[in-house]
């Protein structure tokens, strides 16, 4: 044991054994008022800024020097645009075009948050600039979900007024069943933001914990010495597999978030069905 400790470089030692450490919030610029409410600029805020700036940079580059036959980054930008435009059109039709900017922004933010959260941390970097996945915190995903459902309610009430309440009384239901169906529909509606938030948060949290646990295995096996050190290649390969899967999950969860927002917005457009 003593020998391996000296032989192994500090990088490979199982230092951060706690798989939850990566989700810790670190205050960079503390700011609080009333002795309790914290408005600090945290590592989460830093990563959100990083995400927004990345998106801004990408789309600025993509829309510069536009050509009829796109090349490189412009064609990537067009793929992203067409993907969401088609999703919005398929779910909501022509009327849904007004929601395109919202859905596109939401998708870009969630996708980049998931995706950039997979960046490995530079070894030895201070905790505040560790790689961080903002969507692995339920408060972030819940805020996004509330934003979506809030838009559904706001637009629905503005456009249909009291008629929006038809959402809770589906057509074709006999009158005597309504006292039973309406509470069920209300609960079903209220569980939407929660399930939207929980799904994204749980997927990101679980994926990153699995990655860290596997990484922990590699370190532990390496320091165990002998045959066990050789076996450390197995969890190492596991990390590669899980990491690839996480790429898929990063995209898939952003896609699911966006398409469910579209489906819910469809309810705001046509509440009675």
């Amino acid at each position: 044991m003593g020998m391996t400790d000296q032989v192994l470089p500090a990088l490979l030692k199982p230092m951060a054994a706690d798989p939850m450490e990566q989700f810790e919030i670190v205050e960079i610029f503390p700011l609080s008022f009333n002795d309790g409410v914290s408005l600090a600029f945290t590592n989460s805020s830093l990563f959100m800024m990083f995400i927004v700036l990345s998106a801004l940079l990408f789309f600025t580059l993509a829309t510069q020097r536009l050509q009829l036959i796109p090349t490189g980054i412009q064609s990537m930008g067009e793929v992203a645009y067409e993907f969401i435009a088609k999703m919005v059109h398929d779910t909501m039709g022509e009327e849904g075009r007004q929601f395109f900017p919202f859905v596109f922004t939401l998708f870009t933010f969630v996708f980049l948050a998931n995706f950039l959260g997979l960046l490995p941390t530079i070894p030895g970097a201070p905790h505040a600039i560790h790689s961080f996945t903002v969507t692995s915190h339920i408060i972030v995903t819940f805020t996004l979900a509330i934003l979506s459902v809030g838009l559904v309610v706001g637009y629905g009430v503005l456009k249909h007024g009291v008629g929006f309440l038809k959402l809770f009384a589906p057509s074709g239901v006999p009158l005597w069943l309504l006292p039973l169906i309406t509470p069920i529909e209300i609960v079903s509606f209220l569980s939407r933001p929660v399930s939207l938030a929980v799904r994204l948060f749980a997927n990101m949290l679980a994926g990153h914990v699995v990655l860290k646990v596997f990484a922990g295995f590699v370190g532990t096996l390496l320091t165990a010495g002998g045959v066990l050190s050789v076996l450390s290649i197995v969890p190492m390969l596991g990390i590669v597999g899980v990491f690839l899967l996480e790429f898929l999950v990063a995209f898939l969860q952003a896609f699911v978030f966006a398409i469910l927002t579209c489906i819910y917005l469809q309810d705001a457009l046509h509440p009675s069905h």
Binding site: L68, P183, I184, E185, V187, S188, L190, S191, V194, S195, V198, R199, A202, L248, L252, V256
Partner: protein, 113 residues
């Protein structure tokens, strides 16, 4: 100027047509069977989460309403089955939407077999 615009327009239309044609001839990247496993697993997980969340929301809402009316336990007991029913409704809605889309692809008429 308007003449130029018209010519540009027709060039663009022509290009659009050729693009659509070229895209139509592209071989499909994946067969449906390959793509469907991942999609089904995703759908299953999505619906499972929605079901569990519905039960929790129903229970929580029942408890909260009951709490303010002075009988939290009654609210809990009434809220849980409503949440369960809402969960079932979500699952049912999700599944019928899926099968309706699949039937549409296979040209199956509506109604029972």
């Amino acid at each position: 100027m308007t003449g130029d615009n018209e010519r540009d327009r027709s060039d663009l239309d022509d290009f659009g047509e050729r693009l659509a044609k070229a895209r139509g001839e592209e071989p499909k990247a994946k067969t449906k069977a390959e793509a469907s496993f991942g999609a089904s697993a995703g759908d299953g997980l999505r619906i499972a989460i929605e079901f569990v969340v519905s039960v929790f929301v129903g229970t929580g809402l029942g408890y909260t309403i009951g709490y303010f009316l002075g009988h939290p336990v009654v609210g809990l007991i009434l809220g849980m089955p409503i949440g369960f029913a809402a969960g079932l409704r979500t699952v049912y809605r999700g599944m019928t939407a899926n099968t309706a889309a699949a039937d549409e692809e296979r040209d199956v008429p509506d109604g029972n077999d």
